[in-house]
Amino acid sequence: MTFATARRYAFLALAALFLGAANPATARSDLTLAMVLEPPHLDPTAGAAGAIDEIVYANIFEGLTRIGANGEAQPALAKNWDISPDRKTYTFHLHQGVKFHDGAAFDANDVKFSLDRARAPDSTNAQKGLFEAIDQVEVIDPATVKVTLKHPSGDFLYSLGWGDAVIVGRTSAATNKEKPIGTGPFKFQNWAKGSQVALARSSDYWGAKPALDKATFRFIPDPAAASAALLAGDIQAFPSFPAPESVPQFQADPRFKVEIGTTEGETILSENNARPPFDNPKVREAIAHAIDRKAVIDGAMFGFGTQIGSFFPPHHPAYVDLTGERKYDPELAKKLLAEAGYLDGFKTTLKLPPPVYARRGGEIIAAQLRSVGIEAQIILVEWAQWLEQVFKSRDYDLTIISHTEPNDLNIFARDDYYFNYRNPAFKTLIAEISATPDGEKRNALYGEAQKTLSAGAPVAFLMQFPKIGIWDAKLEGLWKNYPIPANDLTAVKWAE
């Protein structure tokens, strides 16, 4: 090596050093985010666990439509559609050149396959109700699908946007639980059971390329470990942070952004309306007045969560604030109990499933009920027992649960639902809503329905469950709200 060349190399090295310093490496393109629960498997069409959708929705799998950050139905694999005047026939025009991650081409046959599979008699789809309106699905040509409904449905496009309605490949559907194959911008890499699922950007995605090239979902069920992992930088985002007690610490730390958003989780104290004394409306009203929602939210959720007066999310345009209708008023509660013939109160039971909000909230509510004379004995149950005893066999008096599905006001119109609530007027309202397309009229009907529930007090309405999102201050594009279970990463990027 001559002196000159040596000097040239030295110069280049120096230049590289300076350039490197002046021109910081391009923005980061990987993300590790955490979830509380590990999904049982990764097929969103074969399980109810929200954790499945929190990984795969919009990232791995796509439907004909998709739900956006604010809960609105948007085009996805269907670029647009025509609706017949009687609103019973939907003709979907599909994107072309779309491929599944295993290389198989996507076309109308996959749509027919997916929808028929989901609504088949032997289907194990957890939300078969979404497809209840479908009469038949026809392939017109590879890029066009016609869906005929039995009756008009105002929710149809929205229903198709659920994780349970995503389009799966004909050859890969059977193995999606372990190796999910979709059409989305990210493809599945691997799953270390008990620890994490890794995704990588798909090189032949049909739509706009996401900024991230690698995303890892880590499972951290322990609230204490959740805080520690964020502080240590092991994870850069916890979209649904489980420990409200630790939030102030992050709010005070400039390295983090804390976003308190909403979910579709109406959290309620359910009452068995078929069982005395809860068959007496006065008793149910008394319970509604005996509960101090603010104390429940402060005590169980450290102040995070929004009070609700009916079964409807406050962020919805059709929301009516009814929290003033059933105010915390122990004296009134006692009076109502006396009128119902329970001058000295009564004894009952309160079955609590495992989540912290239920266990903590239950203790507070039991204490509040005690002070108006209702002795509610707390019975702790596991999920399996809750589903079996409370939900299926309806063997319960009181229970606390968050109903997390979007647009689920209609559960109070179901005769066979575990509330055992029967209100013909409410049923009529729900039927009307279902047949009314989105708009002013539908919203007015929603308002009616909310008022009917507040007045009938079938259950005690507590709070809208919050979504506590904590992530690195430089991270952009994660959803603030939780309109459906999802961690949509398509728009997530690191600020320069």
Binding site: T124, A384, F391, K392
Partner: protein, 320 residues
């Protein structure tokens, strides 16, 4: 060499162990049959329709008669096939193997740590029997025995993870993340498990040593002019190994299965948490598989301890 009487004893033990295993499989299977809660309903959740649940039950083979299911399960297990997890939809054997990759190293670390502390401490105390250091050590071990390991774990988390931030508060990065990070995340759990065990082991070591020290051949050794330390190390310790081994065997079995609570404190994906989750999710086939593996492990450890007795002290009358 093993004498014929020991050999026949070991064969009897082996036979009874197998019988215990068969009996255990019956107990486990029938216990789980009466467990309330439908796995299919649990998997499909709140919105599921009754026919979807029925369809899933059919797919899971839950509609077959119980005898048939037991025989299928037990038969497959003989060939090493533990069935497929209801919830994870992967072979139970793989799940168990994955979790053992956490639980086994953790148990071994805890056991090694416990021995490394307990045996020297026991020796030290025995050599100074009745004097101040002995009383002090015995006091400390009394405290160690009384501390619930999960509370000790909480204190460790508070000091080393929350306050000093030296180690993670919980979770397990996986061995793929490198030996050191994985080792680091097992360190606090291993300490939390080891110290209470070490306290017990130190007490047992001490009293076993004291017991052997009073025996004739030790007096002979002493008469021959051997020093106290030499006597302890060369003569007393090997002979005190029997009770120590017994306790070690018990502790290893406990560590393998009984780490549920510690795994919960540290959120480690170990065998204990697998079975805890499987019970709450009614993933019965996993529960059955893990319990059988654990029972087999306990029986195996007992056999090994038995065998070790024979090697440690060939003159030994077989304890019943």
């Amino acid at each position: 060499m093993l004498s014929p009487s020991i050999l026949s004893h070991l064969l009897t033990r082996l036979a009874t162990s197998l019988l215990t295993l068969v009996f255990a499989s019956l107990v486990v299977f029938s216990t789980l049959e009466i467990l309330p809660g439908d796995p299919a309903r649990l998997m499909l959740g709140l919105g599921a329709s009754e026919d979807a649940i029925a369809a899933l039950r059919g797919q899971m083979g839950l509609n077959q008669p119980i005898i048939l299911r037991y025989l299928t399960w037990a038969g497959h297990m003989l060939t090493g096939d533990f069935g497929r997890s209801y919830t994870y939809a992967v072979p139970v054997r793989d799940l168990i193997a994955e979790r053992l990759a956490v639980s086994l190293p953790l148990a071994l670390m805890a056991l090694t740590l416990s021995m490394a502390i307990a045996i020297p401490v026991g020796l030290f105390a025995a050599a100074r029997r009745g004097r101040a250091p002995d009383s002090a050590i015995m006091g400390v071990t009394q405290l160690g025995v009384a501390i619930p390991n999960f509370w000790f774990a909480l204190l460790l988390v508070y000091v080393f993870a929350v306050t000093l931030r030296l180690v993670p508060a919980g979770g397990f990065p996986g061995w793929s993340a490198g030996i050191f990070p994985a080792f680091k995340s097992l360190l606090l759990p291993a300490i939390a498990l080891a110290l209470p065990q070490a306290a017990i082991l130190a007490r047992v070591t001490r009293s076993a040593l004291i017991e052997t020290l009073s025996q004739d051949y030790i007096r002979t050794a002493r008469a021959k002019g051997l020093t106290q330390t030499a006597i302890l190390r060369r003569h007393a310790l090997p002979n005190a190994m029997i009770p120590v081994l017994t306790i070690l065997g018990l502790q290893f079995s406990f560590l393998l299965a009984g780490t549920v609570i510690i795994e919960n404190v540290f959120y480690l994906p170990g065998l204990g948490r697998l079975i805890f989750q499987a019970i709450t999710q009614r993933d019965l086939i996993v529960v059955e598989g893990v319990i059988m593996v654990l029972v087999a492990a306990v029986l195996l450890v007992n056999l090994i301890v038995d065998l070790a007795y024979a090697f440690v002290d060939p003159r030994l009358d077989i304890p019943r």
